[in-house]
Structure formats: structure tokens, C-alpha cells
């Protein structure tokens, strides 16, 4: 999954009208959160007044301890979780008022892989494309391309239940790209992957951003991943955004050249 898929992605962009376009809100941002809050029925305040903006084409990383509110925030943006208050929009559409418009424009890969173990990789991707309104032939062609991008063309017709966790995660990523989303949400995309699989996934993400101009919002616990992939980072703790900026800026603010120090600096402060 190194250089080979480059030409496939080029072809995909050329053949897909609208690919690489950046639907945005009036302010030019692909993701907008304003004073967003979520309190679950159990009383847990998972998100407390988060405000942030992600520009079109940007890769934004959300860092924070377990239970900090990262997954809830991503869940709200992916239309899976209803916010208690505040406002969130993705690609110019309100996540509450226009969830279907949001879903048309997003890809979503969750912390735990979401694939059908009885389906083959190809079947899963083709179905996902068709649920996004693609015709069978177009969906099959796109599935073929994306399986090549994630370097799984050889196992396209194997049942997903028989593939390794790393392979399933790559299929999940490919499935979330079937609609060539304007915005891609990745919740801890490399959790549980070995270093080789992680590097492969990073490579695929970088190619996708370069070729398709996808806006990416990812959550991660891996500082090296955040450093390599993200243009900007937000550190979230106890449901609040406690720091935000480019990796370089954040390092400078914590007087360190390590993102790990930055993370500890801001999360300790919040605690």
C-alpha cells in the first residue's frame, strides 16, 4: 500500500465529478462546533461547551484521556449522538436539522471496527456505495479502487470474519470512503494495529487527503500519529477543550518538543 494506489486515486478523482470539492459553511469551515454540550440520560456530562472550527481540507486531531468526551463529540458530528445544547454543523449542514444531508457527505470509522463478518470485503463496500445512492457498476468500480488503495485487493472476496483485525480496519476505512466524503471522522483509527498496519493506514490517509482533499477529524491516543497526520490539534479533557493549535504551537506553549509532554501538561492542568 505504498505508491501503487496513487494512480488509482487519480483515476477515481478524474472520474468522479465533485470529488475533492469542499462543501463548507458560510465562514469557510467544514466542521463547526459552537458551545456544544452533551449530557447522557445517566447524568454523565460527556461534552461541556466545546467550540471549535475545522477548515476544509484540514486534518484536525482530538486528543484526550479516556472518557474525556472525544468519542461523544465525534458521535455528535457523525449524527449518532444527539447534543443536549449548542450547535454543530458538518459540510455546511446542521447535524440535528439535516442529518441525512450530513450523512451524504461524511465517512465514519468508529473506534471499534464496524463490518459485517459474514460479508466479503467487496460486498460490504458495494452495499455501502449503493446505500449512498451509487449504481451497482459505479459502486463496484469504486470498491475495486478503494480496496486497491488500502491494499486489500487480494482478499476482496474473503469473508470479513476471516480477516485480521488490521485488515478489517482497513476495510472499514475503505467503506467509509465509498461516498468520497467531504469530511471523514476517524475515532482512534489505528487502535490495536501493529506498527506496520498503522504505517499502512497513515499512508492511505495521507494519499486520500492529498488526492481527494478530504477534511479529516480524528481522535487518537498516539502522539506520533497526531504529530504526523494532523495540521491542528485540540486537547479535550473532562468534556472541555483545554488547548488548541498546530503541533508546533502547542509544543512551544508547553516548552517541549514532545507532544506527549504537551498532552500531559494540559490534561494534568485540567485535572
Amino acid at each position: 500500500m505504498q505508491d501503487r494506489p496513487e494512480h488509482v486515486l487519480d483515476e477515481l478523482v478524474l472520474l468522479t465529478p465533485g470529488a475533492g470539492e469542499h462543501p463548507v459553511d458560510r465562514g469557510g469551515d467544514a466542521i463547526v462546533l459552537e458551545d456544544l454540550a452533551k449530557t447522557y440520560a445517566s447524568g454523565v456530562e460527556a461534552v461541556r461547551g466545546v467550540t471549535l472550527r475545522v477548515a476544509a481540507g484540514e486534518c484536525y486531531g482530538l486528543l484526550g484521556p479516556n472518557g474525556a468526551g472525544k468519542s461523544t463529540t465525534v458521535g455528535i458530528l457523525g449524527t449518532l449522538v444527539r447534543p443536549t445544547s449548542g450547535h454543530a454543523s458538518v459540510a455546511g449542514f446542521d447535524v440535528i436539522a439535516q442529518p441525512r444531508e450530513v450523512r451524504r457527505r461524511i465517512g465514519f470509522a468508529m473506534q471499534e471496527v464496524g463490518v459485517d463478518p459474514l460479508a466479503t470485503a467487496r460486498e460490504l463496500l458495494v452495499l455501502q456505495g449503493r446505500l449512498h445512492g451509487l449504481r451497482r457498476a459505479e459502486s463496484a468500480r469504486r470498491a475495486e479502487t478503494l480496496l486497491a488503495v488500502v491494499d486489500l485487493a487480494d482478499v476482496a472476496d474473503d469473508r470479513l470474519g476471516e480477516l485480521s483485525g488490521g485488515m478489517q480496519r482497513r476495510v472499514d476505512l475503505a467503506a467509509s470512503l465509498m461516498n468520497l466524503p467531504a469530511v471523514l471522522f476517524l475515532d482512534e483509527p489505528t487502535e490495536g494495529l501493529d506498527p506496520r498496519a498503522r504505517a499502512a493506514l497513515w499512508g492511505a490517509l495521507e494519499r486520500l487527503r492529498r488526492r481527494l482533499g478530504v477534511t479529516v477529524l480524528l481522535t487518537t491516543h498516539h502522539m506520533d500519529e497526531a504529530d504526523r497526520l494532523c495540521d491542528r490539534l485540540g486537547i479535550i479533557d473532562h468534556g472541555r477543550l483545554v488547548a488548541e493549535g498546530t503541533p508546533a504551537l502547542l509544543k512551544a506553549s508547553a516548552a517541549s518538543d514532545s507532544l506527549e509532554d504537551v498532552y500531559l501538561h494540559y490534561t494534568e492542568k485540567a485535572a
Binding site: L80, E112, G114, D116, L118, R130, L131, A175
Partner: protein, 255 residues
């Protein structure tokens, strides 16, 4: 033109089912075994005065169809719980399709599967000498009634359990309860042969009985139109309660 999401998802559930050989086997084998065992055990009742047929398999065939469709629909709920456990359901929920399409797709797919299984069971009855008085149209109507009843009774119960627990094992645990719905009817004996007044009351209160009776008439004597209308009315009423409840419970997955 692209296919509606519900049809695409129905096709998925149809393709998926045979890929789980244990589920496929266990959804058919117990019914066939029960059909053969009860057929042998109760063969003597055909000699009772007034029994409508000399071939007990003929009497038992509508029951066997219900034994296929009512517990069998539970396997769809097991698959639904499996979608939660594999988290694939969230892939569906972030696609631009409605909850209704997801529920309808599952129901359609499972209905096609149940019809195919019911045809196999009826085929066995015919091979054992049973005869469908109303021919192919009556047989088709019998299978349709059985399938719809399965969907609106045990289908609704198990789907809601799957939606609440997200646990395939929990759904599987209640599958044997489906047989109660059928045992508490005139499935094995004619209503007038049930001596206990308590049992007669229970049988009369069981909605399944109102679908089983016209099904049996289709098998043995002909079209009982008032009975068919009543049976379809029972199915419609149960569906009007159960399906919106299921859709509502499905919506609760959005936290």
C-alpha cells in the same frame, strides 16, 4: 435508477443467512423432527369421529408452517443483535437512509427466507401424503399468513429484545418461548377435543389461533373468508402495534 435501501438490505439478509450453516440447520431441523415425531404420535386422532382428515400430516401442516415461521423469525433478530455486536449497524446508521428502510429491509429479507423454509416444510407434508385442498393459491396464502404472523408476533418481540440488549445470546435464549405461542392453540388437536376449560380459554385468547384456523381450512376444506379476514385483521392489529414500536426502539440507538 438505484434500488431502494430496504431492498438492498433485504438482499443482504437473504445472502447472509445461508452463510451461517448452524443457524440454517437449526432453523429447519427441529421443525422437521417435530413434524415427523408429532405426526407419528398423534396419528391415532384421525380415527376419532368428526376428525376432518384421515392423514394427520395434513392436519399438522399449517402448524408445521407456523413452527417454521414464528420461531424462525427470531433468527432475524439474532442477526440484528449480531449487527450491534459487530457494530456494523453504526455503518448503516451513518448512511443516508432512514431507520424505516433498515427495519423494512430486515423484515423483507427475513420474510423471503421464512417463505422459502415454509415451502420446504409444506413440500415435506405433501411428500408424506398431505394434500392442499385449495391448491397452489391456498398454499401460497397459507405461507403468507404464517410468515406475516411470525413477523408481527415473535418477530416484533425478538427484534425489540435485540434492540434493547444488543445481545444475540439473549435473543437466542427466548427463541424456545415461540413454541408456547403455537402449543397454546389447536395446533395438534381440534378445538372441540380440548377438554380443559382453562386451556380452551387460553387457546381462544391466543391471537395465533385466529390465524391458524383459516390456515387449516385452506389445507383441509377451502376458503373460510370470514376466518381469513379475521386472521388478517389480527395480523394487521398486531403489526400496527408492534412495527411502530420496533421503529421507535430502533431510533433509541441514536443516543
Amino acid at each position: 435508477m438505484t434500488a431502494p435501501a430496504s431492498l438492498l438490505l433485504a438482499m443482504r439478509s437473504i445472502v447472509q443467512f445461508p452463510r451461517n450453516p448452524i443457524l440454517l440447520g437449526f432453523s429447519l431441523v427441529p421443525v422437521l423432527m417435530m413434524f415427523l415425531v408429532f405426526g407419528a404420535l398423534f396419528e391415532g386422532v384421525t380415527r376419532l369421529p368428526g376428525f376432518p382428515t384421515g392423514n394427520y400430516f395434513e392436519y399438522l401442516a399449517p402448524t408445521a408452517i407456523l413452527l417454521t415461521t414464528v420461531p424462525g423469525i427470531g433468527n432475524g433478530a439474532v442477526a440484528l443483535a449480531g449487527d450491534f455486536q459487530s457494530r456494523y449497524v453504526y455503518k448503516l446508521l451513518t448512511a443516508p437512509i432512514s431507520i424505516g428502510a433498515i427495519v423494512l429491509g430486515r423484515l423483507l429479507g427475513d420474510s423471503v427466507r421464512l417463505c422459502a423454509q415454509a415451502i420446504a416444510v409444506l413440500g415435506l407434508a405433501i411428500a408424506l401424503g398431505a394434500h392442499v385442498e385449495t391448491g397452489i393459491p391456498g398454499a401460497a396464502l397459507m405461507i403468507l399468513l404464517g410468515t406475516l404472523l411470525g413477523v408481527v408476533t415473535f418477530g416484533v418481540i425478538t427484534a425489540n429484545l435485540a434492540l434493547r440488549t444488543h445481545d444475540a445470546a439473549a435473543v437466542q435464549a427466548i427463541l424456545p418461548m415461540a413454541y408456547l405461542l403455537i402449543f397454546l392453540t389447536s395446533a395438534y388437536q381440534q378445538p372441540e377435543q380440548i377438554d380443559s376449560p382453562v386451556m380452551r380459554t387460553i387457546v381462544d385468547a391466543n391471537p395465533v389461533e385466529y390465524v391458524l384456523r383459516p390456515m387449516r381450512d385452506l389445507m383441509l376444506s377451502g376458503y373460510d373468508w370470514p376466518g381469513l379476514v379475521l386472521g388478517l385483521g389480527v395480523i394487521l392489529a398486531l403489526g400496527l402495534i408492534g412495527i411502530p414500536l420496533t421503529v421507535r426502539n430502533y431510533r433509541s440507538v441514536y443516543r
